[in-house]
């Protein structure tokens, strides 16, 4: 058969046979116009179902790994597994913010109560555990809980979209899934690291300040938070970080607030890990102004308020890394930024303060695997 392409104004033909033209061109065109969205919905649903399945696999694996970690060498595992499953369903109700005045104190109270309850329940379940292992269990349970939460949210929107045949809902879920999968991947990698008490990318702040604290007396100042006094270039340096080597971020907000009121320092330097933008190099060090601290905002609020009331300049030094790197095993590029940051601290102190001044230096982050 001779195929003749005749493309004219409003007259597209592939063959000279009009019926064949109808089947090849006009019928698929009509079908796509009428059922295009249904086809797209089917494709997205099919793809999302695979992703939800993969998330379920990851969630189940994290639960199994958590069980294996916490019941290691235990005889009566059944009761512990039951308790673990109830931990996975734990939720936190955020305070009402219709009247935002005082919401930070409410948030602080709720988050502190949540942490305390988790700690006391783990202590009740495993009374003979040392602090390091108990903290490792707490962190691993938190990872498994996060996994469970991500999976349940994705499954919810997938099922609602499928049930109502809502193309727009499914398309939105499809757009956000790559970011959620990145988070799931990060949690997956974090599990192995937390089980072995290895430092994570976020531990760079405590590692930098922890090195300056070595051979100095450490004092408790807030929950899971310590400080030490040192001399840097003739200035009194007050070093603050979470108490390692257990995996905790401590309460730097309370600690800094108390130290600012007590010591009246002339400079506050904060060191933290910061999320890099795509294209930026891991381990790159950057300087700036402001409270370098993440989280839900309670500690940041306290530090900003105390610094503002005392007219205290706040300098920030950050080590850049991705979300995955921040919660999984510390990479060489991040670890090797310690000396660079120490040089910057020394330069800032010499340039911005006078001898005999007082300076507070805070290492922000999770101090897992790092001793001070």
């Amino acid at each position: 058969m001779d195929l003749i392409f005749i493309i004219g104004a409003g007259n597209t033909q592939i063959t000279s046979n009009p019926i064949l033209n109808l089947v090849i061109i006009y019928l698929p065109l009509a079908l796509l116009i009428l059922y295009g969205q249904k086809l797209q919905t089917w494709l997205i649903t099919n793809d999302l179902s695979k992703t939800v399945g993969r998330l379920k696999e990851m969630r189940d694996k994290s639960r199994d790994e958590t069980i294996a970690h916490i019941t290691e060498g235990m005889d009566n595992k059944e009761e512990t597994i039951k308790r673990l499953d109830s931990f996975l369903e734990y939720f936190t109700i955020m305070p009402v913010d219709l009247d935002p005045a005082g919401v930070i104190n409410k948030l602080d109270h709720i988050m502190t109560s949540r942490d305390m309850r988790m700690k006391s329940e783990i202590q009740q379940l495993f009374p003979d555990l040392d602090e390091l292992k108990a903290n490792s269990i707490e962190n691993v349970i938190e990872i498994a809980t996060s996994f469970n939460f991500v999976y349940k949210i994705v499954r919810h929107f997938y099922l609602v979209g499928k049930k109502t045949n809502n193309f727009l809902l499914l398309a939105q879920l499809q757009m956000i899934i790559p970011f959620l999968m990145l988070q799931a991947d990060a949690l997956n990698k974090a599990m192995a690291t937390f089980k072995k008490n290895q430092p994570i990318g976020d531990a760079i702040g405590p590692m930098i300040v922890g090195k300056l604290m070595l051979e100095h007396d450490k004092h408790d100042i807030a929950v899971d938070t310590v400080y030490a006094e040192s001399d840097i270039s003739g200035r009194k340096a007050i070093l603050v970080t979470a108490k390692g080597p257990a995996g905790t971020v401590g309460q730097p907000g309370n600690a800094v607030q108390e130290l600012i009121n007590k010591e009246n320092p002339s400079l506050l330097i904060m060191i933290d890990a910061a999320l890099k933008l795509e294209g930026e190099k891991t381990g790159e060090v950057a300087e700036g102004i402001g409270a370098a601290i993440g989280g839900i905002g309670v500690d940041k609020f306290k530090i900003e308020e105390a610094a503002t009331n005392s007219n205290l300049p706040v300098y920030a030094i950050v080590v850049k890394q991705s979300l995955v790197e921040a919660i999984s095993l510390m990479t060489k590029e991040i670890a090797e930024s310690v000396d660079t940051v120490h040089d910057i601290i020394n330069r800032i102190i010499e340039e911005r303060t006078n001898p005999d001044d007082k300076i507070i230096i805070v290492g922000v982050g999770n101090t897992i695997g790092v001793i001070q």
Binding site: L43, N46, D47, L48, K50, T51, R54, Q174, I177, P178, F179, L180, M181, L182, A184, D185, N188, K196, N197, Q198, P199, A203, M207, G210, K211, L214, G244, P245, L329, M330, T331, K332, I334, A335, E336, V338, G369, V370, I371, Q372
Partner: protein, 68 residues
């Protein structure tokens, strides 16, 4: 039709080997070895053979194993 799973983690991502760097606090001589359970950053391990000062774990990090 088989489409790739959206946002699936990169399967080509290389597995990192965990290394521990030991260093004498005085002569700063570094020694790199594979991570062992119980290793912690800034943990004192013993005395340096050369100067009798403390040997400390200075870094623990993940790195792609070098090809031989």
């Amino acid at each position: 039709m088989s489409l790739p799973i959206m946002g699936a983690p990169d399967k080509k991502a290389k597995k990192l080997t965990v290394y521990t760097i030991e260093e004498c606090v005085k002569c700063k001589k570094p020694d790199k070895r594979e991570f062992k359970d119980g290793d912690l950053v800034h943990k004192i391990l013993g005395k340096c053979k050369d100067c009798n000062e403390n040997i400390m774990i200075s870094l623990i990090y993940g790195e792609e194993p070098k090809k031989n």
